[in-house]
């Protein structure tokens, strides 16, 4: 109606434009909105397409050229950081072992507090898994927000329980550590690896470069040690030490023909898996008391005056020099007074003694006379040829320097050295010397590496083969008739010599502190191995019939070790074999030839 009135009022045709103009506008808006929506859809579609194309391209690319994974070589992944150490049979004595550690990583959670629960609650949770954990200390560590170890070497089941605590910040990475499956066995030979990854004390230190080098890591280092022999020696030394209430013990088993060390034990020992600071260091008071730390190697590092075990060496030197031509010659056995010093025997063994009797009864007086007749020069030269004037030849870093008098020896020193006083050497020196005494007279350096038969050193001829053959008889006689009877394991034809020396102390020798040694070889008809056992300050106990000398503590140890190691080393006991001592039997009173 409004339109009609408009026509009439103006007398002309006028088309109202308000409605149609609004419609057109509306249509435009609609079209534009549609266009925008289309464009948007297109944009989204294009976005999706680009992403899809990119993904497809990436997949195709990966499929065609392979994932850019870092070069992975299983051999490299299995190569240990430090080579294994194995014994001569290939049994691992030291190897790499991957263990879990408990590591606190506060950055594991990207936002907010590093822990879900309070540090105290987490510490208490850990305490339930590790009962010896200090809750307060751990809570402080967790609250500090510093990444650090909470604990090293945890068990897999403990790692599982830590996982169950549900704290992402508690991580348990696997880390390579050095592990010694045999525990404290051969600890002094092996040594240990410190927290910086450096080998300490034993072959770990001596072989450090080889074990960690690129070429050496793949190959295990083979020792001359036989772990069964080592175990038997440690067992029996430990037992002997307990029975005689000794402070320490040392022992070594040496191959007489090659110089390879089959076993080397020093007690008390330490566990290389858990080295305590006290294992390597002692207080000044303890040092003053003559104590040594457990990590101290008594076989290669400690020098002792080894007493009567020197007497066979003196006799051999005299036989070689030709000052003894008749073993039946009798020497006076009355106490000797030389330069204000009296040389006497522990007990009176008659007015005179011949050479076999001297060794069987271990007479200082006659040994001194034999040494005196031989002369200091020749005795000294012989001992130098046996390497007694230098550190023992072995790969270990801990090697003691002998107490050795330089220059010309006065008469008294010659006489005391001839029965084992005035010169202090390590038990390893003695073992090498005994190997030369019985193997035909050839001295060879001792070694802890397993030797190929072609690599055995030629050595040097110290004694003549004839002297060596005679000494075998004499050493066997000591065990059959003399002070070494307790070492006479049936069928093993052991020969050896006891030695008991007083330990030097403040103001002279300490009468009640002995170092007792038994140096032996077996089987005497064809010696293959030398066994030396030393006891530090043994006491007279019920088990040792209240005696303190080597015949009651060191000799029985050898007597028990040899039957255990002999068959392992291919020496079977045989009662139908023995060394022929019949030509020397008439020289001793009860040696009629039948007993």
């Amino acid at each position: 109606m409004n339109a009609y009135s408009a026509i009439t009022a103006h007398g002309g045709l006028s088309i109202p434009t308000t409605v149609s103009g609004g419609r057109r506008k509306l249509a435009n808006v609609r079209q534009r909105a549609l266009l925008v929506a289309k464009w948007r859809t297109l944009w989204v579609l294009a976005g999706f397409t680009i992403v899809g194309v990119c993904a497809m391209a990436r997949i195709t690319w990966l499929g065609l050229v392979g994932a850019a994974a870092p070069a992975f070589n299983p051999a490299d992944a299995l190569l240990p950081q430090r080579a294994e150490i194995v014994d001569r049979q290939g049994v691992p004595l030291a190897r790499e072992f991957r263990v879990y550690s408990l590591w606190y990583n506060p950055r594991a959670m990207t936002e907010g507090s590093p822990l879900i629960h309070s540090p105290r609650e987490v510490a208490e949770g850990l305490h339930r898994i590790f009962p010896d954990l200090d809750v307060t200390e751990t809570a402080a560590k967790l609250a500090s927000g510093k990444a650090q170890y909470l604990r090293k070497s945890i068990l897999p089941e403990e790692a599982n329980r830590v996982h169950a605590l549900g704290e992402p910040a508690l991580e348990y990475p696997q880390e390579a550590t050095r592990y010694y499956p045999q525990g404290s066995m051969a600890a002094h030979v092996l040594g240990y690896v410190d927290s910086f990854g450096k080998g300490q004390v034993g072959m770990e230190q001596a072989f450090d470069k080889q074990l960690t080098s690129a070429d050496g890591r793949g190959q295990p280092a083979v020792l001359s040690i036989d772990y069964r022999v080592q175990g038997a020696l440690e067992d029996e030394l430990g037992r002997g030490m307990k029975l005689s209430a000794a402070k320490g013990a040392a022992g070594v088993v040496l191959d007489v023909d090659t110089g390879e060390v089959l076993a080397l034990a020093s007690l008390p020992s330490f566990d290389p898996n858990r080295v305590q600071p006290t294992d390597m260091m002692i207080s000044p008071e303890q040092a003053r008391m003559g104590e040594v730390p457990h990590g101290f190697n008594r076989v290669t590092n400690q020098v002792y005056e080894l007493g009567s075990t020197f007497k066979p060496i003196t006799v051999a030197a005299a036989l070689d020099a030709g000052t003894i031509t008749d073993l039946g010659r009798r020497w006076p056995a009355a106490p000797l007074h030389i330069a204000g010093f009296t040389i006497h025997d522990d007990e009176n063994m008659g007015s005179s003694l011949n050479v076999p009797e001297t060794l069987i009864h271990s007479s200082n007086i006659v040994s001194a006379q034999i040494g005196d007749e031989l002369g200091g020069k020749r005795l000294k030269a012989k001992l130098e040829a046996l390497g007694f004037n230098q550190r023992p030849s072995i790969e270990l870093p801990a090697r003691g320097f002998p107490i050795w008098a330089k220059g010309e020896w006065p008469r008294l020193r010659t006489m005391t050295v001839s029965f084992g006083h005035g010169v202090a050497v390590t038990p390893l020196h003695l073992a090498s010397a005994y190997a030369a005494l019985v193997n035909g007279g050839v001295w060879r350096p001792s070694t802890l590496r397993k030797l190929d038969p072609a690599d055995v050193p030629a050595g040097r001829q110290v004694f003549s083969p004839a002297t060596s053959a005679r000494l075998r008889q004499l050493l066997r006689m000591i065990v059959v008739y003399g002070t070494g009877r307790k070492a006479n394991a049936e069928g093993f034809r052991i020969g050896g010599k006891t030695g008991s020396a007083e330990k030097p102390g403040v103001g002279g020798y300490r009468k009640h502190s002995l170092i007792t040694t038994f140096a032996a070889a077996f089987p005497m008809d064809k010696p293959r191995y030398v066994v030396v056992a030393t006891m530090d300050e043994p006491q007279g106990t019920e088990a040792t019939s209240f005696q303190r000398t080597a015949a009651w503590n060191a000799a029985p140890v050898v007597g028990r070790v040899v039957p255990r190691i002999g068959p392992i080393l291919g020496i079977m006991p045989d009662n139908t074999r023995d060394i022929d001592i019949s030509d020397l039997l008439p020289l001793i009173p009860h040696g009629s030839g039948n007993d």
Binding site: A458, E490, K526, N575
Partner: protein, 177 residues
């Protein structure tokens, strides 16, 4: 659309090329898939090897010499076998034959181990102990070669075997008869 002969050939070559390309791509994808599987297998091998090493170490630790000794002390109490428990050769066998009577002389003993008990393990150590009758020098440092050494080793080896030894004794006897 007229398909000339050349055009058909071109389309044919192009198709073959396309098929080859597709096959190459498929093969490459397959190769890389296998490579990836090998990589995974390598990783699994390493993990398994590490597990083996772990278990080996655990076994060695549980069965270490000290543990075995404790077990023996507590459970079994085995000791080292004695000489009577060994029977090495015919000589020891012979010794079992008859008990030594009263006032009988002591049985003869072998005074030297000639190494015949373990001939195959003889590394020449018995020869090392030999001494030159002229110079008195030990043969330890000298290397022994030549036919004599071979003969010596053969003798030592034969001595271990009773039948061979008897055969050796019979031969000279046979030649005398």
């Amino acid at each position: 659309m007229n398909l000339t002969r050349d055009r058909v050939y071109s389309i044919g070559w192009a198709t073959i090329l396309l098929v080859c390309f597709v096959l190459t791509v498929a093969l490459t994808l397959r190769v890389n898939a296998v490579k990836s599987q090998v990589h995974q297998a390598d990783k699994r091998i390493v993990a398994v090897q590490q597990d083996i090493a772990f278990l080996e170490t655990e076994f060695q630790t549980r069965s270490n010499q000290q543990q075995l000794k404790l077990l023996n002390d507590v459970e079994f109490g085995y000791g080292a076998p004695t000489a009577e428990q060994y029977l090495e050769g015919e000589r020891q066998l012979l010794a079992l034959g008859k008990a030594v009577g009263p006032n009988a002389p002591a049985p003869l003993l072998y005074a030297h181990d000639d190494g015949s008990a373990a001939p195959e393990k003889d590394t020449g150590n018995s020869l090392l102990a030999m001494v030159s009758p002229v110079t008195g020098a030990s043969a330890a440092a000298a290397t022994v070669n030549g036919p004599e050494a071979a003969e010596r080793r053969k003798l030592a080896r034969d001595a271990a075997n009773l039948s061979q030894r008897l055969a050796r004794i019979e031969l000279p006897q046979a030649s005398q008869q």
